[in-house]
Amino acid sequence: MNLSSHLPILIVVIPLIAAFMNPLIGWRQRKFCNPLAVIAVSASFCIALLIARTVITTGRISYHMGGWAPPWGIELAVDHLSAFMCVTITFVSLLAIVYSKNYVEKELAEEKMVPYYTLLLLLIVAMLGIVVTGDMFNLYIIVEMLSLAAYALVAMSEEKRAYVAAYKYLLLGFTGAIFILLGTAYLYIITGTLNMADLSVRIQPWYGSWVVFVALALLMVGFGIKTALFPLHTWLPDAHSIAPSSISAVLSGLVIKTGAYCIIRTLFTVFQPRFVIEVMPVTSALSWIAAIAILVGSLFAISQTDLKWMLAYSSVAHIGFIVLGVGLATGYGTTGGILHIFNHSMAKGCLFLCAGAIIYKTGIRNIYDLAGLGDKMPVTMAAFTIAAFSMVGIPPTAGFISKFYLGLGALEQGTWAGWVFAGVILLGSLLTAVFYIRVVNNVYFGERKRREEIEKDEAPLGMLIPIVILAGGCLIFGIFPKIPLALAEPAARLLLGI
């Protein structure tokens, strides 16, 4: 029995078992919940690294569930993109769980602690399941599992509007699920298969049929809602700003990215690049929508005064960057889009964790009250500044690399639309600079309301370490971009078939 051949299922099953163990252990002793979750997700992180190594050396891994060969059985298919997503998801969610220990003890009621960790583990399981599965219907079920965990986690917040925000999220998320199910059903009806690789072959004679057009449109709208792509983003600012900060970091950094992953999978694996670029130009439609998302999201973010609302609207803009890269469908553009998934999840995760630390220590949410925090919480605010620079795309941070690739991809297209997209990327970065630099400026140089001596009062070490690691990641992967590119570049090339 060779254990290494079971890596794709182990990465999902280990946190799943931990999620079910959690209530049992938490029932006896609440304080063991956090170590259990940390151990389970650390194991997943190690497996993700192993998977990444295997994929780079030997290529795509295909795992047959229960020994049933596809297309009859369920296949877990791990290629470069999946491995890339696995590493991103386990890395950021591990740090979010480490951060949760101190945060949850103070910000949430005591009896919510056990369900918090159970749901968070289920959320991570679902994200990993989405990226490793090779079956359309399986994908639908896991997307729903992800959404259910996310609804409950948003409702768990102690904020006044938590239940209303969660209900709004649920209504829109469920609408998205209906569309995904209907799109999957259409694909099954015409081809008689649900396996993605098999589907991509069997669907080719049907290119040009109205059923395929409708199926693709339904899938795009469904995943668009889950991704919060403009104009389907209305649930995002409520849900992401009201959720507990550690959950906001996971929701904004990872959950909406898995929606983007589903869009990439549907466009380039289930359908062929030839179809989505030429026959039914979904990619160029997505690019235009994404360009609008970048501008509108940034403008909304500028008008916010609440720190977490601003970060949430910034996510709308940055999902635009990712989808724009996917929609460009050029080598550099798609590499940039995929790379931005990783860079944005690190930077946005760091920013939300910093916001959580600020709320934890001072309770301030308004960005104009942040003056003087640079002296009070120097480490947190330094990390915040680095992550903010990464969001803007100032070298040598990681955000610069992905935006550089996006710009190259836009120009690579060689049409007038490509120049427009390049302009939008520049303008979007400038607008991002407006609202992040405003916060940083306020923190370090803002006018203090009370002229008293400010004592240094940092967040506890358990919260600082994840923040510092994420901020360090923003710098390290900006200086050594070859590390994530080793997976992102072949992923884009394999998807586009170039």
Partner: protein, 116 residues
């Protein structure tokens, strides 16, 4: 000709009508529980749609008893069984949230809740 088209595809018409009813309830009704009922109706219409496509004319249950048997496709039923579990869970979450919303704000009117 047209009559044949309508009668021949009656399962699709029923599903479409149910879907639209459900979608209308989700959008237009103000009460949160009626919205939940709306999305259940819409989802059920899709379940019916998928199951109705599994039917084979003259087909029986897919149990082999030796020999060639014409049977209905069993896979859509299995898929929908799973999807029903998902729909049930979502409904349970939605209704429990509605209970909590009523406890906290004393109303289930979506428009009043948006003003908070």
């Amino acid at each position: 000709m047209i009559l044949e088209f309508i009668l021949g595809n009656f399962n699709y018409w029923i599903c479409t009508a149910l879907f639209l009813i459900g979608f209308y309830a989700m959008i237009a009704k103000k009460n949160l529980i009626k919205k939940a009922m709306g999305f259940d109706i819409a989802e059920t219409s899709i379940f019916l749609f998928i199951i109705s496509t599994a039917d084979v004319e003259g087909g029986t249950v897919p149990i082999t008893m030796g020999g060639e048997v014409l049977y209905a496709n069993p896979l859509p039923h299995c898929l929908i069984l799973t999807a029903i579990v998902v729909a049930l869970t979502t409904t349970a979450v939605a209704l429990s949230m509605a209970v909590k919303i009523y406890e906290h704000y004393g109303t289930l009117d979506a428009e009043k809740l948006m003003e908070l």
